[in-house]
């Protein structure tokens, strides 16, 4: 019997939001869903995993992410439990982890899937930075996928009674790629790839300090703050904020582009946003062709007005 596995990614021992998208997708396959979670405190996650029949918990005194330990452990579990399909989120961690597993067990992996048809083993993913889509057929006994966040719908996991919990030890055979430290970001930043809303600034922001007005709006909306390549290259924003072909691919419900002209490379990184709003003083800026709603004018006048209007809703 072929089963399906989901790798639940934790961030500081909290479930990442898109895990639910991955589990919901697995449920729709109508195969037996097995959830794999690396935690010593399973109890605190059981509520969120309600309706899952099989939970495989990995324990160790030190569960700090180490790609070699994690990939060896998952590779064994996939084989032991016949997890012929295996899903994770297309996050920085899974993009590091999943290919290692796929190489070890000779599985076929497709990253950044936006559509998966389990019956026909076909997968759709963006290529050329989203300018085209590719539909692939996968012919392998073991298939792995990472899914783009905010694409797959979340649904209730159903009620299958109490889960069967299997506890395993972390496989600490070999440590070749050794993570020795994590450098935290100075501010508590919202992860752009999972954000529901993003406020982005471009060259039109003129200087670094001006990003404050975007941050204020972002705080109201619980949004992330992004930037165009031009803004990053000009030193207004840090490279982890860059949205676009050589930056992050984001997919929020709302994307507000302020002072961004809308180069094709920027558009590649945010075009699948549900609603795109553009604020730019140049009515000819290409961003207006791609935005759902636009206001032509001085962003330094418009953004404060927008903040005022949003405060009426959010406070």
């Amino acid at each position: 019997m072929a089963n399906i596995g989901v790798y639940v990614e934790l961030k500081e021992d909290k479930l990442k939001k898109s895990n639910k998208e991955a589990i919901s997708l697995a449920k729709r396959s109508e195969k037996d869903v097995h959830v794999i979670i690396f935690t010593n405190n399973l109890d605190q996650h059981l509520d969120e995993l309600k309706g899952i029949k099989n939970i495989i918990q990995i324990k160790d005194q030190d569960l700090t992410y180490q790609p070699d330990y994690y990939s060896d452990t998952i590779a064994n579990i996939i084989k032991d439990y016949d997890l012929n399909d295996f899903i994770g989120i297309c996050s920085a961690q899974c993009k590091d982890l999943f290919p290692r597993v796929a190489a070890k067990i000779d599985a076929s992996l497709v990253n950044d899937c936006i559509e998966i048809d389990f019956k026909n083993n076909s997968i759709t993913k963006p290529v050329f930075a989203g300018r085209l889509l590719a539909k692939y057929r996968v012919e392998n006994e073991f298939k792995m996928y990472t899914i783009r966040p905010n694409i797959f719908p979340v649904q209730a996991f159903g009620s299958e009674g109490n889960p069967e919990i299997i506890t395993k030890e972390l496989n600490k055979k070999e440590l070749k790629t050794k993570i020795i430290d994590i450098i935290k970001s100075d501010s508590k930043k919202i992860d752009l790839t999972e954000a529901d809303a993003i406020v982005s600034g471009g060259r039109g922001m003129k200087e670094k300090e001006n990003f404050k007005i975007l941050e204020e709006i972002a705080q109201l909306l619980n949004a992330g703050v992004g930037a165009s390549r031009a803004a990053v290259d000009a030193g207004f924003a840090t490279s982890d904020m860059q949205v676009g072909q050589t930056g992050k691919v984001v997919n929020p419900k709302l994307y507000i582009a302020c002072g961004i002209s809308g180069a094709i490379q920027h558009f590649a990184g945010m075009k699948t946003s549900k609603v795109i709003v553009a604020i730019n003083k140049d009515s000819e800026a290409p961003i207006f062709k791609k935005a759902d709603y636009g206001i032509v004018g001085d962003l330094f006048k418009i953004v404060p007005l927008l903040k005022k209007e949003l405060e009426k809703i959010y406070t």
Binding site: I180, G247, D292, Y293, I302
Partner: protein, 256 residues
């Protein structure tokens, strides 16, 4: 030090792409470039060479005949050897990685392998990790800082939310280059002249013991995504326009 850099030829980021036969892109009028992340890989390799003078930088690419151009560009930047694994057929990432890993092994000794964390055509984020796994050596991906000290490699890699992981590896190892690692140099005129005279070693998949192409991931269809309909400019005094915008976002499209 024996340094290898794996590079891929891709269409220019501004190229207008259209689909031919439903499965491949139309190659007419396409300007081909080195995938930008692979340029960071070349630059970092050349920086190591400058520090450790007896080092040798070898470029490897895989693909049809036209891919020779990226090897020439990389040689012009300062690499001294180039290997072209020539194939006209589509092969999946695993087979590509196997071929490259085998080609590197065939060359004898290898200490560092630099490669972009993804190519900007298929955006697979796979090949560099597969190469490392097939060679049985460590790999770090999305690397924004690289340091080499007495057979140890220290890197930083960007993860989600603006955080970074600090990683230690021993050589040989694979480094998946990302933006921020460095600023790639432009080829010098002299470099370009010199590059023209360097012979490129040609290999076939058969030379690398890949007798039969056994793709497990097969392209079925390549197509353009549905275009968004033209958006709406909210006209009028900006005070009113902003009010109207917020109303639409809240009541019509319900994203607030």
């Amino acid at each position: 030090m024996n340094i290898f850099v794996c590079i891929k030829q891709v269409p220019d980021t501004e190229a207008t792409l259209s689909v031919k036969d439903g499965k491949t892109i139309n190659e007419n009028n396409i300007k081909w470039i080195i995938s930008p992340y692979d340029e960071y890989a070349i630059e970092e390799a050349l920086k190591v060479k400058e520090k450790i003078p007896e080092s040798k930088v070898t470029l490897i690419t895989l693909g049809p005949k036209r891919c020779e151009s990226v090897l020439r560009s990389g040689l012009a930047m300062g690499a001294e050897n180039a290997i072209h694994i020539e194939t006209e057929e589509y092969i999946d990432n695993k087979t590509i990685a196997r071929a490259i890993a085998y080609a590197i092994k065939q060359e004898g000794n290898y200490n560092l392998i630099f490669i972009g964390k993804q190519a900007i055509d298929d955006d697979a984020f796979l090949t560099h990790i597969y190469i490392a796994e097939y060679l049985g050596i460590p790999v770090a991906t999305n690397v924004t800082l690289f340091k080499y000290e007495s057979e140890k490699v220290f890197v930083e890699r960007e993860i989600d939310g603006g955080e970074k992981e600090k990683i230690e590896m021993t050589t040989p190892c694979v480094i998946g280059a990302a933006k921020g690692l460095n600023t790639p140099r432009y080829p010098s005129l002299m470099g370009m002249m010199k590059a023209k005279k360097i012979p490129i070693k040609k290999l076939s998949l058969q030379d690398l013991e890949i007798e039969e192409i056994d793709n497990k991931i097969i392209i079925e269809k390549l197509f353009a995504p549905a275009e968004k309909p033209q958006g709406k400019i909210i006209e009028g005094e900006i005070e009113n326009a902003v009010k109207e915008l917020v109303r639409v976002l809240k009541d019509e499209v319900k994203v607030l």
